[in-house]
């Protein structure tokens, strides 16, 4: 599953600000409707219609399996827009107390925002705490926040290095294992053709840079308690990443270009970009968007900061949550749990393109040995699973990451023009702190 296109494809949301002011007439919050049935097992036996907001492709196939198993529950799958578009609609609906979903897809980075403002049901009361052992630690740590369990992990995106083997072979290069080797390869690739780059960096995508910082050991966002937040976008990890990429940008060894555009995919297709550092959900996108050259692409583990290390990070991924405005919370919770933890359901999700979040599937030999057609038959799942097992611990998102990500392009994105990402990170930190303080948090910065 790719959470990434959403951040760019804003076209669905082209409504002038005025329209919002016209539409937002209902502001009362009577979303505290007590669910009629509180026992999940009983709820699954009561005729109910659930509304499920998600943009995961083909998820209706897995939902159909659920409906077969629990025929009394009807699930209506609605695509209410991707990522920020969906979150805005959901915030408004929860505030209004009606019109919202019973179950919703929420990316990990947006989860703290909903959980903190108590807009999601704590799934502990429906037995979600017992699920911990089924999921990877990195996935679980992103849904278990502040003593509650706010969603069930659906898919993850452990980072990996996708590279164009044809380009690498042509230049006699090996896939780099460290960032130093990465830099050397970048020089050689540029030297072979001034129009070729080792990869691109997206000035509009906070998630991409976050993942690099995560892998480098940076933990720039720390929520101390309900109101205290610490932000340090110049901690050693962040600085290491910014220094490397600033240097690459200044020497024009990487291309500052927004991802997912037509031009960007053409660059991927034509060998202009030799590499893509991204989450394990990418093979499906490669196969469907550049089918002619997909077979040239291979996967290797992420370059490391110290030789011999094995540290990875997550990029993207979603969980499934139950908003407090749902009138069928027990059934909704039972559905969310089944959809993402039942072995049959999890396999179906994976078959439809989602990279698993469950340890069961990630250790299943059938899954690990499966040759991926998109990547020339490589058994890439082994590399992805290794990456998943070595994700650095302790990463946190801001309780208002959706906003923070939206102004990434205003600050770090603009600094990509000059190639001084550290200046961009400082500007971003200031916007993040200002917003947080306006919103009533106490934001501390070094």
């Amino acid at each position: 599953m790719s959470p990434a296109p959403s951040r760019r494809r804003r076209l669905a949301a082209l409504v002038p600000a005025a329209a919002l002011l016209l539409g937002l007439t209902a502001c009362g919050s009577d979303g505290s409707a007590s669910p009629a049935v509180t026992d999940p097992a009983a709820a699954l036996d009561t005729p109910t219609t659930l509304t499920f907001w998600t943009w995961a492709p083909n998820i209706d196939k897995t939902v159909a399996l659920f409906e077969q198993k629990y025929p009394k529950i009807k699930v209506e799958v609605v695509n209410a827009g991707q990522s920020a578009t969906e979150y805005t609609k959901m915030q408004t609906a929860i505030k209004a107390g009606s019109g919202g979903p019973d179950v919703a897809q929420v990316e990990y980075f947006a989860l703290p925002e909903f959980a903190l403002s108590k807009r999601l049901v704590d799934l502990k009361q429906y037995g979600a705490a017992g699920l911990e052992s089924k999921f990877t630690p990195s996935a679980w740590s992103q849904v278990a926040l502040n003593g509650g369990v706010w969603a069930v992990p659906q898919d993850t995106g452990p980072m990996a290095m996708f590279y164009n083997k044809k380009v690498f072979d042509e230049l006699g290069l090996q896939p780099p294992t460290t960032w130093a080797e990465f830099e050397e390869a970048a020089v050689k690739i540029k030297a072979s053709d001034p129009n070729r780059f080792i990869t691109s960096i997206d000035p509009g995508d906070a998630g991409g840079l976050d993942s690099f910082v995560w892998q480098a050991g940076g933990r720039p966002f720390q929520q101390k308690d309900a109101t205290n937040v610490a932000v340090d976008l110049q901690d050693p990890g962040s600085k290491k990443v910014a220094d490397l990429w600033s240097s690459l940008l200044q020497r024009k060894l990487v291309d500052a270009a927004p991802g997912w555009t037509n031009e960007w995919w053409q660059s991927m297709d034509s060998g202009r970009y030799a590499m893509w550092l991204i989450g394990a959900w990418a093979p499906g996108n490669i196969a469907s968007t550049i089918p002619n050259t997909a077979k040239d692409w291979r996967v290797a583990p992420m370059p490391q900061w110290s030789k011999g290390d094995k540290v990875s990070a997550e990029n993207g991924g979603s969980a499934v949550a139950v908003p407090t405005s749902s009138k069928h919370q027990a059934a909704a919770a039972a559905f969310a749990i089944w959809l993402n933890s039942d072995p049959e359901a999890v396999r179906s999700l994976n078959e439809n393109g989602l990279f698993p979040a469950t340890t069961g599937l990630l250790t299943d030999p059938g899954f690990l040995d499966e040759p991926l057609e998109a990547l020339g038959g490589q058994q890439a799942n082994r590399i992805f699973a290794d990456s998943s097992a070595t994700v650095g611990t302790g990463w946190q998102y801001l309780p208002y990451q959706v906003y923070a990500n939206s102004v990434f392009k205003d600050t770090v994105g603009q600094s990509a023009n000059s190639g001084d990402l550290n200046a961009g990170l400082s500007a971003w930190q200031k916007r993040i702190a200002d917003y947080g303080n306006q919103q009533g948090f106490k934001v501390t910065t070094p």
Partner: protein, 316 residues
């Protein structure tokens, strides 16, 4: 928004003035009927324009915080908006856009209207449709299309550069973005403005041209002394529309943002700023204040232009 309100209410006022006189002359018998005919408009006006505006103004007096909930803050949001550098930078940007793009567009529209009206074009209908068609293309589609054309690698700009063995300037880069957006807007709205001006030209009585021809005036003299004064009110109208449109610039930069996020920020234009405050930042209240200030600025500038041109027109 405010401008449309003020123009609408002024039309209402001017329309109801003769009605009041009539009432005085012929008694109050028809007063009820007058109101009955007027009521449907009034309902739509109140529900569609006045109420949302009032609600936005009301919202702008509060702050809704993630921690602490909604509190009444009086004019605090306005104080913040007036000192907000991002908002101000956006306003300057659209003002610059206004000073360059609107004269270019209206000049082209005037030329096109005069050309159609001159009767010397071989296929005037085709020309008219051709210039007008871009207006029928939705702004989002137009921006996407131009965005691809501007692409300096695989787009038309890139191909032209390759053909001549050179690189064109990056039309989506920081130096050229505003001009590139101006080009899209000009392409889109020249035809629309041409139609307004052409309609005004059609109302000139042909006797005037005959008289001018008898006096020995050539085509250029006729255009200068008869046609230009005749289109003056229409030109003022088109200018006011363009000013409002410019201050509300949104679709074009918003689409370009996905192609050049390092150039088009979330506060690139005031309207984009208000939109992003509300939809990405959940700051509905501050967004409402920004929208109200933006509406006020637009109304003042549009009204000033209108007043000034009208006064000039009377002086001439």
């Amino acid at each position: 928004m405010s401008t449309s309100q003020s123009t609408t209410s002024s039309t209402v006022r001017s329309r109801s003035a003769p009605a009041a006189r009539r009432r005085r002359n012929r008694g109050a018998r028809h007063g009820g009927w007058g109101f009955a005919f007027f009521a449907p408009f009034l309902v739509v006006f109140v529900v569609g324009v006045a109420a949302p505006l009032g609600y936005a103004a009301y919202l702008s007096l509060f702050q809704d915080r993630l921690i602490g909930g909604t509190v009444f803050v009086g004019l605090e949001n306005y104080r913040r908006a007036l000192g907000d550098e991002l908002f101000r930078a956006g306003l300057w940007r659209v003002l610059l856009f206004l000073l360059v793009q609107v004269p270019v567009m209206l000049g082209l529209a005037l030329l096109a209207a005069l050309a159609v009206d001159s009767g010397r074009l071989r296929r005037p209908g085709l020309f008219r449709i051709g210039v007008f068609v871009p207006y029928a293309v939705p702004a989002v589609v137009a921006s996407l299309m131009w965005g691809y054309l501007y692409g300096d690698r695989f787009g038309l700009a890139g191909q032209i550069g390759d053909f001549f063995g050179t690189r064109l300037p990056d039309l989506l880069g920081p130096d050229w973005m505003l001009a590139s957006i101006g080009n899209v807007v000009t392409w889109q709205y020249t035809g629309y403005n041409m139609l307004i001006l052409y309609a005004a030209l059609r109302t000139v009585p042909t006797e005037l041209y005959e008289a001018a021809a008898l006096d020995g005036a050539g085509e250029f003299r006729k255009a200068w002394s008869i046609k230009l004064p005749a289109v003056r009110p229409a030109l003022v109208l088109a200018t006011v529309f363009s000013i409002i449109g410019t201050f509300q610039l949104f679709n074009e930069p918003n689409v370009m943002q996905s192609l050049a996020p390092n150039v088009v920020s979330t506060s690139y234009t005031p309207n984009m700023y208000a939109y992003n405050l509300a939809f990405n930042g959940q700051q509905f209240n501050y967004s409402a204040a920004v929208a109200v200030v933006l509406g006020g600025v637009t109304a003042v500038i549009a009204y000033a232009v209108q007043l000034r041109s009208m006064r000039k027109g009377q002086g001439a």
